[in-house]
Symmetry: D2
Subunit: 360 residues, 4 copies
């Protein structure tokens, strides 16, 4: 079996998930190097996962690690810069959501990868989550007739890392962090249908002391094909992760729930170690999730990309889709800022998307 050499960039929460996926489910890949901005963190990560090389300098990694693929799990503001370097070095790129902070960055990244003839995949794992993929296939089989409404919600009580709360690094709040999942999944379900307009409501309800970013948002996306889509996202929702999708068609409906609906149901008087992402407590009733990484579709996603690299195929989830998601994010911030529906295509020259809400 041919093994593709992967360098992981980042050493945070999501990087653990990627490495677990490679190690347990993707024998076709070999993680050969890890990069973190902090030298000790890079080293510790490499040791924990038996990764042979570690770096605290991206350029050095690109030159020396021998990797064919870079898997970018860095904070948003580093996405564009790192992708451009990787493309220049001739490496294939898979990049965590959101694609970039600005539309200009997104365009530059897509362009650079094309010119360098390297693959660029936008790592939207909801496009691979097994339960949601089951739903998509049901819809394709005609189970619910013609789709007229989609809903997607992802909610928890706030991210792990500090940078998420700093809008200069992140570009926005929960919409930037988690709204992108909903938008990406809408495009995926609707075969990249065109968006007609976006309406949005946003607020900072729980983390006002820590961030200027919104921590609760509701966005309505109207597509040109007549489908209405509703995205709900929150960093203010206690009780563990919620990730739900709903499909409404003229002949039926499907509800799918990745966490509560997959979990066992437990009552523990004194609690235990871990229930699911962001569960504050495990005492009393809880919903202990299982195979959390698999059930969110990370292995399926990463395996797909390695296959694309090995067989020279185009990734199904493209940089263009990532850019389209970012355009909806722009439109949603603008809609919330201006208090009206924003029609697409939409573009505005800003340093970060959230400025469209904060300084409308």
């Amino acid at each position: 079996m041919q093994r593709t050499k992967v360098a992981i960039l980042g050493a945070g929460f999501i990087t653990d998930i990627h490495v677990e996926s490679y190690h347990r489910f993707i024998p076709e890949a070999e993680v050969v190097a890890v990069y973190a901005r902090n030298k000790d963190k890079a080293k510790a990560f490499a040791e924990k996962y038996h990764i042979p090389q570690w770096f605290d300098n991206v350029d050095e990694l690109l030159q020396k690690s021998g990797c064919e693929v870079v898997d970018i799990c860095l904070p948003n503001f580093l996405h564009a810069e790192t992708t451009l370097k990787a493309a220049k070095a001739g490496k294939h790129v898979i990049i965590e959501k959101p694609l970039a902070v600005t539309l200009e960055e997104a365009d530059a990244m897509i362009d650079a990868c094309k010119k360098a003839n390297v693959k660029l995949m936008y790592a939207e794992e909801l496009c691979f989550a097994p339960k949601y993929e089951r739903v998509r296939h049901l819809v394709k089989e005609g189970a619910v007739g013609k789709v007229y409404m989609l809903k997607q919600a992802e909610k928890h009580s706030g991210p792990h890392g500090d940078w998420f709360y700093d809008i200069k690094q992140a570009g926005g709040g929960v919409l930037m962090d988690m709204g992108c999942h909903a938008f990406g999944w809408f495009f995926w379900m609707l075969n990249n249908a065109k968006v007609k307009s976006v309406s949005a409501s946003m607020a900072t309800v729980l983390h006002g002391g820590r961030t200027q970013g919104e921590d609760n948002s509701v966005v309505i996306v109207e597509f040109e094909n007549g489908v209405t889509a509703v995205a709900e996202n929150s960093w203010a929702k206690h009780g563990g992760m919620d990730d739900k999708s709903e499909v409404y068609g003229t002949e039926g409906v499907i509800y799918a729930d990745l966490f509560l609906g997959n979990a066992a149901l437990a009552y523990s008087k004194n609690g235990y170690g871990y229930a699911m992402e962001k569960a504050d407590t495990t005492a009393g009733w809880s919903f202990p999730i299982f195979e959390e990484v698999f059930n969110q579709g990370y292995p399926h996603e990463l395996k797909h990309f390695i296959e694309c690299v090995q067989q020279n195929k185009e990734p199904l989830v493209t940089g263009e889709l990532g850019r389209a998601v970012l355009e909806v994010i722009y439109a949603a911030y603008a809609a919330a800022g201006q208090g009206k529906k924003i029609s697409l295509p939409f573009h505005a020259k800003v340093d970060r998307p959230i400025d469209l809400w904060l300084k409308p």
Copy 2:
């Protein structure tokens, strides 16, 4: 026990529910007469429920039936006219949703009842549904901290009566018919907080051949107290009634489901008689509801009104609340029509609310 004399106006689906409620749960009331526009229907209804008098003329009923209360379960376009007559005749009025077709009618009704010194109650049963009232009390106890978001959804595959589909009689589609539940419940949960703005998305996705009205809508209501509320309503959703509410607070969350979540879960190879309102089939898996009338809060609602009449107390759910709901409906149609957030207070002179969407 003193028994208050009630005349029922209407003989359709909702009237059955009111009469079952009076008969089984409200010994303090006595249904003495029924009115229907169709003579035979009035008579048949009276016979079915052992109601001593029946009328096909409202004026005659008001003069002769000896009723103290009229319970109006007529199509929307008759709400104002009938209420004005009842008030003039000195009868207390309880009226099914929505309060009226236009804001002008609503104002006239409230005014007339005040002048005639009769009680006017807006019959929003969600304010009495036992599971939702349990939720409201949990919130008041502080179970979820400060509320920042509410959601309410009511969906099925379309109403029974023809007049619902005729926008001249109904004034609008599913928003008029079922959106009013969500808005009424929002005001109830938030102690009549003021609305700041309304955004909306609407479409006719299933019943286009039968109605000009919208049969699917999503509305975002922003309150002045910072709460965001989302109303989802549909006449296009198969598989039986859905009625769900969610409360999000800074220290917790509550999900409540009136139908699927109360029901038993049954698998029947060949089906059986009745599962729940609007269930297309009972073969295969189904969710058979129980004590459907009680669990929706009708007895609690009607009992409350009879108590108000007997003890001369003000109803908790007022004509003013019904008017406020109608104002949100106006704003929602306008928002959908103009593609922007509509700020409240909002008023427009129209024949029916839906004109704000159809002819923006």
Copy 3:
């Protein structure tokens, strides 16, 4: 409306439930007196519920209260003695489960009520619980074909009162306290079919320091009509009340859950007042039940009995059914004690049923 005069005997947990039922849902009844062994408790209970008379002497109550009905909510060991007195005084009797401690007592009670020409109703509320009655009607409609298996489970973490743990007062442990619900419901569902045999497994797993009684039991009942029935009962199950029933037929299946399945789902960081019977905590996730008394069928049960008294009809749930339940309890203790299936009819002369397990 004619009002039947009821005297309540007892002032514990279940008595609150009965009085709430009478007051809210049964205008045809009037609670005229309460008895408790403890004078202060009787007085306090009467004051709390505005009951005009209170007694600490049963004979006195029977002579002076003017009641037509006695509603017996006393500890098991007082059931027979009190029923015999009531019958002698010409009062109708409704009695909480189990009917009696011994089969001899049961026979004497049934006999005495017949001779005195007073009604005796065995208060098995599961025969009236709305969700379970919905299930029974579905089965009668043929929804699941021919029934071949029933399951009923009732579980919590142990009763409120001390006397439940004293086998001299209670006659046994959880089987006596809660197994009777399952057996009563089996007879109800199967139209008083005859039992062929009983197998059982019992243990004291949590309350060994406090009781000699079993606090966990599993009983298999085989009926002559070929139906297998499984009763699971526990005083050792944390996390609040569980009450579930399942029906298996040749053409379908029905699952019904009275508590978790009716409840809202709440997450509360710091908890709130009350979730459901026996819920240890309300912090974290919980299942807040609503209309708990109604949903368990108490009003329906008591209303039925008052109707029987007023209209001189035979109660549907008879003393004979209560006796048949007790016979199954005897057989179950014997089966657990002897380690074999016990065939019915079964009788053994013991002071209390649990002796058949403890001293086989």
Copy 4:
């Protein structure tokens, strides 16, 4: 990566599952040959899955295929004979449930593999199903205190293949086919605790025209450590597969549901292709399962065995456990036949376990 050569014996329902598991999740294994009794079936299976060799003669396969492992997915009556041959040929053996038809066969198989120094693994996939393994780890962490009761249920409407219904080939009915899952899981959860006694109730309720075997059974197993375990199994339950486990401890409880509890919830007016194993229909409401093979633990199970072979480790689920399961099956049939608890150790000389019920 070293790849272990596997020969698959059988070409039925379960064989598809094993091959999907090897191909998608176990790169360490290589399926080199397939055997089926029917030549055409063997060939078709090989072609479908791109397996290079196919055989209709086991001896030939053992000599020529070059396999290191045989994976036996044949009807029960062939288990012993095939295992003995494989051991003799020096092949490692992994074998589908139940281990064998008789205890004598089981002993011979264990003995033969030991003498031949080949590994024998009993393929109980519930010991690897991710949700159940999550539950087991929660219990080990102390989430529910000391376990006092286990429940396991597996039910559907009857197997695919004809041989299951022929007690000469299968040795029994649903207890043999699916009860073994429950018993295997009990031993697994309780660290191979010793069984004290077994009680059982059996009946043929749906498939009486097709089989002499029981198609519904309830078995109570009492362990020496004081744990009570209840196994429910059925071939008479409509509406698709049910596989549920429950753990009751002195400080909590865990409920886990492999099918309904993992599935999406769909309503489809006209139905679609496939919902889950044994779902009769997909019209109306259904529970579409996803990653069915993974969620039942097959890949985890087979991967474990390949690792054992490659690293010369003892499989965690042994032939001895498979034998212990068979002993409980014997005892359960005897208990049902004799109508009493059967104490273990238990042995009886019979041609097939079900004889202990049919001819007690």
